[in-house]
Symmetry: D2
Subunit: 377 residues, 4 copies
């Protein structure tokens, strides 16, 4: 693991997600750029001191020198955006598979280089757009693929949060500080941090691609340096239209990612904060589809762990990425074809697309022209 030392948020999430299914064991880490903190963090995690490295470079080099079977199998990168690229690059170059937090990189250039490297090395790369790991998202995707709602006409995706409604970055809140700092977060603030999740979710579940965007990014808290709110109209490759808005100043909102997809004959509504419920609606009926109940797709079943009514949440969805990644690696190790059921996690292409989304939104926001084409890279 790179990053995730004491006091970090997403590192602990990655560790819980990786541990849940008993498929992955944490064996080493460069948890902090401060060697002592890295060691202390590793000690908290019951790691031997010699595998708590002072830097990702030393970690990759030293682990590579260990005999196969002893060395780490892959690297998890849980650092802020501007520190994704270098460790990911070095890991790939040294033959290690990679799990990386989103967005893929700090810039489009970095993203493309990582994609090229993944292709070149043939290694596995997972990007933790965790929200697509929920069973009911799998269910919606399968049903849409199967034609259950007809041609999609309209999509509304929202991602309101409220935690940046004041200038918390000035109070030294660590999560806020780097996210609102252009030198660490990248071109976009809220749109990179959470807007990309909404983009990834809507393309994943709908199977459509955004082709044009009319966006406005806003800084609604005075003194902030990056967008804390953004709203946009969308056009999709099948002619459908959409609305996407994300905010971190939507006071009182926790983590209210949600999506509504309207087709010709039916639609789906899903809210991340009540993730085990998927609503299917036509003009004549309304059904509550639930994790673990009734005749669900093979994919929905494979991404749930416990019976109906035993709520599964964020960590379980996140763990689905790790579980699938681990099963896929194991298949490779065993020389088997990976089961397509589990070869289902966001990868480097999703990361490139997310970065292209940021590029397009930022360009559109600065433009007086209504529609900006989505740039493909």
């Amino acid at each position: 693991m790179v990053g995730g030392g004491r006091g970090a948020f997403i590192g602990a999430v990655h560790r819980m997600a990786a541990a849940l299914d008993g498929q992955i064991e944490l064996v080493c880490g460069a948890f902090s750029s401060d060697p002592q903190k890295s060691r202390d963090s590793g000690k908290d995690l019951f790691l031997p001191e010699e595998r708590c490295y002072p830097s990702y470079q030393e970690m990759i080099e030293h682990e590579k020198s260990l005999p196969e079977g002893e060395r780490m199998d892959f690297v998890s990168i849980v650092t802020p955006n501007y520190m994704h690229f270098h460790p990911a690059k070095m890991a790939l170059e040294n033959g290690f598979h990679v799990v990386c937090d989103k967005p893929l990189a700090f810039s489009m250039e970095e993203a493309i280089m990582l994609r090229d490297l993944v292709k070149e090395t043939g290694l596995e790369f997972a990007l933790t757009h965790n929200y697509t790991g929920y069973p009911m998202i799998k269910e919606a995707r399968q049903r849409i693929r199967g034609g259950e709602i007809g041609k999609i006409r309209k999509i509304v995706a929202e991602y309101p949060q409220g935690w940046l409604a004041t200038l918390v970055e000035e109070s030294g809140q660590k999560q806020a500080s780097w996210r609102t700092d252009p030198s660490k977060s990248g071109k976009a603030g809220a749109m990179g941090d959470i807007g990309t999740h909404a983009e990834n979710l809507l393309e994943y579940v709908s199977g459509l691609k955004i082709t044009e965007i009319c966006a406005q990014l806003n800084i609604l808290v005075e003194g902030r340096r990056l967008d804390d709110d953004g709203n946009m109209l969308l056009r999709f490759d099948n002619g459908a239209v959409g609305v996407l808005h994300a905010s971190q100043i939507a006071v009182g909102e926790e983590n209210n990612l949600n999506i509504r997809i309207y087709g010709e004959t039916g639609g789906f509504t899903w809210r991340q904060m009540e993730p085990n419920t998927l609503i299917y609606h036509t003009n004549s009926e309304r059904k509550i589809v639930r994790t673990g109940v009734g005749d669900l797709s093979e994919s929905a079943v494979a991404h749930a762990r416990i019976p109906a009514g035993h709520p599964e949440g964020y960590l379980e969805a996140f763990a689905n990425i790790y579980r699938n990644f681990a099963l896929t690696l194991r298949s490779r190790v065993n020389g088997e074809d990976p089961d397509p059921l589990y070869l289902d996690y966001p990868g480097v292409e999703d990361g490139v697309r997310g970065m292209a989304f940021i590029e397009t939104v930022v360009e559109s926001s600065g433009s007086d022209v209504k529609w900006t084409p989505f740039k493909n890279y």
Copy 2:
């Protein structure tokens, strides 16, 4: 009453709304342009045949000739959009107060003429933007006015319906036929029919005015002649931003008008389909404000009729317009100043603003420039 004969929808709503509080008695009508149908409709309503007129012209003329105290006090106009103007104009010109369904008129020109006439005659004019009649909308408005959520930063208003997801107008469905016909509905379809409700609601409750719009109207069902879907970004006079979308092809949606308002220190969420609940949310607490519970504003109390937990709905909110209108007229008749608590119903200025909204949205939708200024008339 003008319009609202057998088979009509909104006419019956107006009659129930007017009857509910025992303040208003239906005394006559020109329910249909077909004299026989007008008589039959009046008979269903227990009206004497001689006051079931074959045309609004005859109704206004004849009623005017009756002695004061016997003749009608005001005219309700419940016809399709293209038939609002002429009866409203004639009623005003003949000294009758008017209640008119929304939108105010077929065109901007008509709207302005009606406004001028209302000013000139000094008569009362109510426009049935009924959704602002709900007690919890009154409550949110009062609290926002009182500064409870600080300066507003963002508003999201939605109005999805699904009933036009197929080309029902071709099957002879009466409500669909005129609404999708540019010669009867006006420049806009869904945006005029329901988008204007969303616009009226958000300006009423927030106290803000839209200053710029970036809109795209869509026809998503092939063969339709007017927009059945529309999405837009908004800017407000205090610097706040917004998103408004309305649709009649959002399959499976009933009448899901809803609004979220985010201020600096708190926000409100309200959904028309669960109208007795208003959610107040800050980053540290979330309260369910309910009709009839706790310490509500005088206005919220005055617009509810029964104790908490006894749900009040659409007809009650609609009736609030009629009740307030009736109490205001009665004050005038009695030579008293109307109680400001009841002098609270949408009027001709709201109608002009709604028509201006339609104008602006249609213009923006046809433009390649991102932002179109909201036109004031």
Copy 3:
């Protein structure tokens, strides 16, 4: 109307419910035992002074003396429980149909006498157990009748309110005062006031009859004279079991009547506070049945007024009783058979059963034996 003068609660509800559909006109009243208050109340309602009577006796006598077509068609009794019997009796004896608030009477003896009188006179009698007037209750009843959920196995009915969580009767609150006074309310407090609604609802919707009760009534606020809480186990005539609890000290509850019915193959859940939603659930699917959406029973359709998503509430359900009663009377007047669709309102037999429920519950509560047979009268 008997009762319902200034300051009364349920009288105003009856008037709004009666007025809503334009089928019934209020023509006279004995609104208070105080002649001046009766006159003033009538004046508020725009009634001529001569038909605002100082007592129900004078009202019935004088109205009877009026020519047919001018005199009232029926009497609505909206007084506290202990004043139901005498006006109802006199009205029936003088040939007037009756609408009476629930429970039917102060005592079992009175109830039986009224039943006998209704039979004898052949007059119509409606009891305003208004909660069965909701369209989704009609829907559940029809589907259960049609066998959709198989044999019923278990019913849970709840009616929690919180408004008597303190000794409000001592503060002079009018509604609380008579309801907690054994000389005005009868043998039971909460159980008579709201428990009987739950009993009526569950028998109506399920089609089953309670055969045995194991009940405990409680006074949970010190100083109160009648039960403010009651809980019971039930057995039904088909072998099903049940739980019913009602409370007026369930602090924070508004008017949360709800029912769940579990059959062999499916079940229904309904909550009065969200009355347009009926949930149908089996072990493999969960459907939200909504007023106005999809293929509903003829009865559900006939008891709704406006399209889906336009919430209908308590007053509309209450109005369904008045509307049905009026249509039934009109059929009688016209010499027609009443339409079974509208011959659907609670009557004197429901009232007798409600009184028997109170008798049984009070007896069971005082007994050390577990099960008390439901007494039929």
Copy 4:
């Protein structure tokens, strides 16, 4: 681990719960009474073959013979009810701490023996009444302790499930088979399986003790051998009253454990299927208390892992027991006093009380007397 081999349900839950926080490593197991299946199950879990034992006896004996630091630290027992006692007893007698699934034992006698043994040995014993592990349950408990709702007057606890609505045990469904078999489940079916969870929850959160029960257990599916439904009235040691019902034939219900607690001045409502929401309600306000939002008790904070709006579910609540147990053991090992914040998991006394609840309910159900005193052992 004892039990939890291939195909088992709760064993996998225990493993995920134990793994989540990185505090506990699975080192050995007797996963099945079939030695080969035990080995295969262990292999799935990446355990060395020599620590996949053919029986719990061999496991305990062999592990005990290993050097300290190598041998297991505690035993998790995840077998059906009738196989809790013997492995628990042997583990305790050999100096191993124990985590045991609920109910504690097959019979009262076994339960008492285990309690005595725990006292005698001074070892730690955790019983996985997992539902008290939710943060919002901790919050409600703390607030009730702090007097926030005043003296409790009424509690309603429900636990409806629907999965046994048909005779699934005859189809060989493993979970159903042993739960409906008196020789494996004990005196009670549903009441032991899930009723005890409701009992444990309500006593834990309220701080009250049940003193009398009036219960009826039912077999509502023909051919079943143990209760699949049970309903009861309760009395508590402070004078409060209650209702508890649990069912496994409530068709369409998933795992709908919920509780409402009404005090003099406020109440709480919580539903397991939406576990991150706790509703606090008085007669003047209604607040949604949410995991991670606002000013929560230290205990609620300590039992949540991720920020507000990132739903935590069943496994996280279950993991709280394991995490707390592990931290408590670690304190013991380190010679420290355990932190009271984590010394918070159900233990052997809860188990004895759960067994006494079963005894009392079964006795009451067979009795014609209304109230049966809760037996203390």
